[in-house]
């Protein structure tokens, strides 16, 4: 048996439902541009009908849950790809910079300075008596030494810059970890009472992606909506409501890492000793940066040292066989360098020769001012296959360094572009599922608005029905 009271009540609740709907629509519209936001919708439920016998009359609707539209698997995939993107980005940024140091397409670089050096000995051989030729040899030799030092220093500078970036990244990792721990708390509070913490979860998903872009993480979700986040293999940076701390600090040389470069240390709480987790970092920006710093750049520095060492050693070897203008046996042309490591930093022209170019020993016999045989042998070193099992010349060796670097830079760049495209695609798919469409929201708004108007009409009708009944008596 239907009742006018019930009709009025249904109308009232329907009006409230429409308001809930419109409020959700407005929430969606307001968050249209919020990064990581998933559109929400109100799930309306029909109320239990009441009735006697066969006649069961509907009792209107009530709002069920407000849920977010999201695809968990897609989110995980995005997080994965984002970690890879972070790695490529970390690499690509610095590879580009490293490449510039060796870029001789436009500027003069080590290859040319070495060419100049050998040419200066050829010029010297044309007229070994000339003082200006001797000065030329001295100058070009000085330039080669300086350029070795320049390349080495620029590589070192980039390494320190990377250390600085590690520090900055680690700080933001700590900040994100702390925020995730906070959100864990909110989500647990909301969801214990059976609700859906849509916005908090959106935010947390976003933070996890950001975190994953910086460092490789593993995420585990507990039953109460709390998550734990492990960075690398062992660094538990978020555990429930607690967050651990990462730090970047300079440490001694280890593995491929050089002395003074930064290690990433993890401290779970203030009572524990910090533990180095650098080796566990394989992905994310941090992984990319560390890879370039410890592998790529150190590799280049080692090769450069080898070249500088070999170059100065072979020139010295020949030069010592010569005679200078004072008819003395030749000195070491470059200051002798003991070990290969650090050779590119240590290489410089013998100070005695710098002070007096007459000590350049280009003659193979004494008292022969016109003799330039030793100078010619030095010039000939340029095209002598003396490196890499006597297979390549010094120029080949250097060009090999540049070629290798060019290939890996190109590879890194295309990996980065590819990864960015993949991620774009995935984000598009995500938006198509979770993104807000204004058209859609406009339609919904009209829908709810009309429902609201109709519900008001229902109340008005019920009221008129009451009036009709009351008017029966008079």
């Amino acid at each position: 048996m239907a009742k006018i009271n019930a009709i009025m009540d249904i109308g009232k609740r329907a009006m409230m439902n429409s308001q809930t709907g419109i409020q959700t629509v407005s929430h969606n519209i307001a968050n249209k541009s919020t990064e990581g936001y998933s559109r929400q919708r109100v799930e309306m439920k029909a109320n239990e009908p009441i009735g006697l016998g066969k006649t069961r009359v509907g009792m209107g609707a009530r709002p069920g849950d407000v849920t977010r539209t999201t695809n968990e698997f897609l989110e995980k995939q995005i997080a994965n790809e984002q970690t890879k993107l972070g790695f490529s980005k970390g690499e690509a940024d610095y590879m580009m910079r490293v490449e510039q140091i060796f870029n001789e397409q436009i500027n003069k670089g080590l290859n040319q300075f070495m060419g100049d050096f050998f040419n200066s000995f050829r010029e010297f051989a044309n007229q070994p008596e000339s003082t200006s030729n001797r000065a030329l040899v001295k100058e070009t030799a000085e330039h080669v030494g300086k350029d070795f030092t320049r390349v080495n220093k620029q590589l070192k500078d980039i390494q320190s810059e990377m250390d600085f970036q590690l520090q900055v990244e680690v700080e933001s990792i700590n900040r994100i970890a702390a925020e995730i721990a906070d959100i864990n708390k909110n989500i647990q509070t909301v969801e214990m009472s059976g609700g859906h913490s849509n916005d908090e979860r959106d935010r947390r998903d976003l933070l996890l992606k950001e975190l994953g872009e910086k460092i490789n993480i593993r995420v585990g979700e507990g039953k109460d909506g709390r998550i734990t986040v492990t960075a690398g293999d062992t660094a538990l940076i978020v555990s429930g409501f607690e967050s651990g701390r990462l730090e970047a600090v300079p440490t001694a040389a280890k593995d491929r890492k050089r002395e003074g470069n930064f290690d990433i240390m993890f401290t779970s709480n203030k009572y524990d000793q910090p533990v180095a987790i650098t080796r566990q970092i394989r992905e994310g920006t941090l992984g990319g940066v560390i890879n370039v710093r410890d592998n790529v750049v150190n590799n280049l520095r080692e090769k450069l040292d080898q070249l500088a060492h070999h170059f100065s050693k072979s020139v010295n070897e020949v030069h010592r066989m010569g005679f200078n203008l004072y008819n003395e046996q030749g000195l070491d042309f470059f200051e002798p360098i003991g070990q290969v490591e650090g050779a590119s930093e240590a290489i410089r022209v013998n100070s005695e020769i710098m002070d007096d170019p007459a000590k350049i020993a280009g003659a193979a016999s004494a008292k022969s001012p016109g003799d330039s045989r030793v100078a010619l042998v030095i010039a000939n070193l340029q095209f002598a296959p003396s490196m890499g099992n006597n297979m390549s010349t010094m120029a080949d060796f250097y060009n090999g360094i540049v070629g290798e670097l060019a290939v890996s830079t190109k590879k890194t760049n295309s990996a980065f572009e590819h990864q960015a495209a993949v991620l774009d695609q995935l984000k598009n798919i995500r938006e198509s599922i979770s993104g807000v469409s204004l058209d859609e929201e406009a339609v919904k708004m009209i829908e709810y608005q009309r429902a609201f108007e109709a519900s008001a009409k229902v109340i008005k009708t019920a009221d008129e029905m009451f009036q009709t009944i009351l008017n029966l008596k008079s």
């Binding site: 060419g115 051989a125 003659a363 000939n380």
Partner: protein, 360 residues
């Protein structure tokens, strides 16, 4: 597919960015005229150009070396030409004075004066300088190769210049060979120390030049035949033992001239007659030396020509590898430009379209 607003915006932005970055890349190519501005643009091309530049750089130097050597060789050739002319004159004089009919003590005295003059001139030629280097002194380029009594002070050193990768050429001929009969074609054994290419070649002690073996210094072991037929056979005198080996010696130009002068001054016909042969030998020796110099000049010219060709080839290769194809880049830019316009156009429309506009 459901299309959310953010997709529209994101995609528009991405497309515009992409078009713009392609534009920028093409524009950069056009501005620098280079296709490869950093090694990673094309690693293969970059390493190949780097290698080619090294070669090109060296070739530039080889060409400079050749230019320097050409002047040196030219001056040498000129000097030997002058010397030849002098020898021709000497021979004329010798033939004229060797004959009792037309010559007598007075004419011989007069000719002796002229011969002495020629001797001085030859000395000047032997001591000629190129810049401040003596042409004929071997490695001893800073001191006079021949002193006033006609003794050689220089050595057998060859002034070598690099005229190509791993190729050197001696640009000088020491006076010992031109004027003192040291063996012209000899490379003085096969010691690599004379033209060392690698450091090991320098370990040979022969690199430290022995004093030039200058034969027959005047008045030392030379028999000046002033009386009657030669006591020693002239041909035999030209062979002296050196380390058990017989080395064929040439003629000592200054000595032959001195002999001639002595013959004139002493009015000794047989000596004058003898010196005709010796002067003839001397002249031939100088001519032979000159022809060697000519051969070197030709080698230098050839080397120069081939270097010039190689330079053009290398430059062509580098350009092929790294230079931008201007026509292609220009058409690319036009293409990118229309793409960008289209993107901007559609994006503008797409982003503006909304249901809300139709709900009034």
């Amino acid at each position: 597919m459901r299309v959310a607003d953010k997709m529209n915006y994101g995609q528009s932005l991405k497309n515009i960015n992409q078009s713009r970055s392609e534009m920028a890349a093409s524009q950069n190519q056009l501005a620098t005229m280079k296709r490869v501005t950093k090694p990673s643009d094309d690693p293969v091309a970059a390493t190949r150009t780097l290698g080619a530049r090294t070669e090109l750089h060296a070739m530039d130097q080889f060409m400079r070396n050749i230019q320097g050597a050409q002047s040196f060789v030219q001056l040498t050739d000129q000097s030997l030409g002058e010397a030849t002319d002098l020898m021709v004159r000497l021979k004329e004089l010798a033939i004229q004075e060797a004959n009792e009919a037309s010559a007598n003590e007075t004419t011989r005295k007069a000719v002796a004066t002229e011969a002495k003059q020629i001797y001085e001139e030859l000395l000047t030629i032997a001591n000629r300088q190129f810049g401040d280097r003596y042409l004929f002194g071997g490695y001893k380029t800073k001191s006079k190769p021949v002193n006033e009594v006609g003794a050689y002070q220089g050595d057998e050193g060859e002034l070598r210049v690099e005229i190509g990768k791993n190729t050197t050429l001696a640009m000088n001929i020491p006076a010992s060979r031109v004027f003192f009969g040291s063996v012209l074609n000899s490379n003085r054994g096969d010691s690599k120390a004379l033209d060392p290419r690698v450091v090991e070649d320098l370990y040979d002690p022969a690199r430290i030049d022995k004093p030039a073996q200058v034969p027959k210094q005047f008045g030392e072991d030379e028999n000046i035949q002033i009386r009657g037929p030669a006591a020693i056979d002239a041909a035999e005198a030209k062979q002296i033992a050196d380390d058990g080996k017989k080395i064929v010696q040439g003629e000592n130009v200054f000595n032959s001239l001195k002999t001639f002068i002595v013959g004139l001054e002493t009015n000794e016909t047989s000596v004058i007659q003898d010196s005709i042969t010796r002067l003839d030998d001397s002249m031939n020796q100088i001519i032979t030396a000159r022809s060697q110099v000519g051969a070197r000049a030709r080698m230098l010219d050839n080397a120069m020509a081939s270097l010039q060709k190689q330079t053009v080839d290398s430059k062509g290769m580098i350009s092929e590898l790294e230079d931008a194809d201007v026509f292609k880049v220009a058409s690319d830019i036009t293409q990118h430009e229309s793409a960008l316009k289209a993107t901007l156009d559609t994006s503008g429309h797409l982003v503006r379209l909304s249901l809300l506009d139709f709900l009034r």
